[in-house]
Amino acid sequence: MNFPVPSSLAMQQTIGLPSEPTYIRTGGFKAVYRIQNREGENEALKAVYIPKAISDEDVMRREQLIARAKREIKALGECGSPNLVRLGTIPAKLLCISGHDYLVYSEEFLPGEPLVNWIGRQPLPTFTQLYNLFSILIGLIRDLVQIGYLHRDINPNNIMDTDIPERRYVMLDLGIAYKMHGTQLTQGGSPPGTVRYMAPELLKPDYKDIMDFRCDLYAAGLTIYVLASGTHPFAPQPENPYATVYRIMNTIPQPLVSRRGDLPTPFCQIIDRCIRKTPALRYSRIELVEKDLRRVAP
């Protein structure tokens, strides 16, 4: 996604930071920097680009981005899960930086690495690692459901393997969290999110009417499947996204146990069930997943 990324110096000057932030990465319409707060602790500073409104379409897009970012921040504040990144000391505010508008706010800075780095690494993750990670993701989905949110972008890029023992895996991004009973903010066309981890129902034109927490369950299951097997069942290598979409809709992945014979079969069956194409075939209630998970605890 192309947008003007503010320089670190411009960020420092506009916000009035004591030192220049360190640019980390760009994702979607968002640039991320590392800063130090007044206590000397690291925080992740986020600048969400807000395009100028010229045409009617731009007005809509601008409104959408502002609302999306506000929603993320609201969700972060409402969700008490330790496995969701926490807000930092800079509250959300709309700023003009180098002639462009950005919504700026900060989150805690988490040491560690994103789980995407695990993919293909040897040795493959152990059962205990996968079990703990999946349990945390399920707990997070449950916490989000309780406050009326769907995450819609659970994937290994968005999960940090931290160095904090009591918060080993933390979800970074709620950028497209969808307030289930609120306004539908996504414009027509394809839904936001990472296509490779998107549940089949989200790829249908009427996805807004049919999605529920089971799309997050799918993404959590697929994340585990990919980490456990080392490959993505629908996108084994970089390719045209339409081919990936076709596979998401039509290809039934091999049972996980056939890829990882060392994992307990009941655990693999839970993951296989979560990534079924039809929502009705997944778990209809979080308690049912949790119950099955307890039965296979290491």
Binding site: E201, I210, D212, R273, R276, T278, A280, L281, R285
Partner: protein, 396 residues
């Protein structure tokens, strides 16, 4: 999986003997055949500890204004009143309908209740929305009468609604997303226009998509923790049991072996008294007693092989013996194939269908040509139905 009797007209001693001889595990009572007072008496007669449920048959209220209704005792039940359609669509009438129906079952002392519902004729229809509303409120409303009594929501759906498969499967997606789900479901799959119920012709129910759909309902609901009772399932019972059913029910007349809304309207002309039949498990068919006699003389393995086969030797068995044999054969199939290992059970059942097909071929070679083709077509429909179900359930 347990086999229950689907109660209807003229039970005589069928239920008592079925229960005492262990070929049925309970009864689904019909208020169409039993007035409130008779139902109370009946429940007392069948005894304490017997699993008894009552199908409220609320969906038949649409026949109240039919020019030739055939509702039996239903109109003697207080809950059996058709609310204004607008009140059903808005949902305003639904809590009262559920409460009255459940209250009636509570007063009868039943330990499990079946919640009322409307009949889904088309998947993409206002009836579907109303039916989902009934289902989503069943548990909440029933809990106001007694929160400890298990409640089974009725899911009564026409085969035509199942055949429209995408919309049908969307119903299941919605159903499994209900916030306060019932403890289970009472599932009825109705045939469209009823055909000659006594014949062995391929019926509306023996359609691959309908079989697959009925199995899919059982599978989806059971894997999500719901208990599934199927009414009028007869020879499809083993397939439903393999897919996750807790209970299947069947009765002694064809109208109790296959569900059709047509029974709530008076038929034109009279029916004939049905011939005595025999459930041949190996043939997967409900054949005429006379055919059974002839078949087994040539191909002995068509017999189900229970001790009750003896009563078919010599004189025509009584109607009670006929019913007991039918339930016993369903139990034989259920015990053989419903082990809880769905992939293994389906694989074995497919082999069993192939064997049944071979038996029909043997009979054909022996000169018994009548009814062979419809039966083989029905077996083919079962096989296709299983295949389609495996695809829908992502079991491959």
């Amino acid at each position: 999986m347990n086999i229950l009797a689907q109660n209807g007209f003229g039970p005589k001693d069928k239920l008592e003997r079925g229960l005492s001889e262990g070929v049925i595990s309970g009864v689904i009572l019909s208020p169409r055949y039993l007035s409130p007072a008779k139902m109370q008496e009946y429940i007392g007669r069948l005894g304490v500890g017997v699993r008894l449920l009552m199908d409220p048959e609320f969906f038949a209220t649409t026949y109240i204004r039919h020019p030739k209704p055939n509702l039996g005792s239903l109109e003697q039940w207080e809950y059996f009143q058709m609310p204004r359609r607008a009140a059903l669509i808005s949902g305003k009438a639904i809590p009262d309908v559920i409460k009255q129906s459940v209250q009636a079952q509570s007063e009868l002392g039943l330990n499990e209740w079946i919640a009322p519902n409307v009949y889904i004729r088309e998947a993409d229809s206002i009836e579907t929305a109303i039916a989902l509303n009934f289902i989503s409120q069943s548990k909440t409303i029933a809990s106001t009468v007694n929160s400890n009594t298990p409640i089974f929501a009725t899911l009564a759906i026409d085969r035509d609604a199942i055949i429209k498969d995408n919309d049908f499967r969307d119903i299941l997606d919605s159903l499994t997303a209900i916030d306060n789900p019932p403890d289970g479901y009472y599932v009825l799959v109705g045939s469209g226009v009823a055909r000659d119920s006594g014949s062995q012709i391929r019926s509306d129910i023996y359609h691959p998509q309908v079989i697959a759909g009925w199995m899919y309902i059982n599978y989806v609901l059971s894997i999500n923790g719901a208990r599934v009772l199927n009414g009028y399932s007869h020879l499809l019972s083993p397939l439903l049991g393999i897919s996750g059913a807790e209970v299947c029910a069947s009765g002694w007349f064809s109208g109790l072996r296959r569900f059709s809304m047509n029974k709530y309207a008076r038929e034109v002309g009279g029916g004939r008294y049905p011939l005595v039949r025999y459930v041949s498990a190996p043939l997967l068919s409900h054949i005429k007693q006379t055919d059974f006699d002839a078949f087994r003389a040539v191909v002995p393995s068509v017999a189900t092989g229970t001790s009750r086969d003896v009563v078919y030797e010599g004189e025509e068995p009584s109607r009670t013996e006929e019913s007991l044999q039918s339930w016993e054969a369903l139990n034989v199939l259920s015990k053989e194939f419903c082990t809880g290992n769905i992939n293994g059970d389906l694989a074995r059942f497919k082999v069993y269908i192939d064997r049944a097909d071979e038996l029909w071929a043997e009979l054909q070679e022996a000169g018994f040509t009548q009814d062979v083709e419809p039966n083989r077509e029905r077996l083919e429909a079962m096989k296709e139905g299983i295949k389609l179900f495996e695809q829908w359930a992502e079991l491959e």
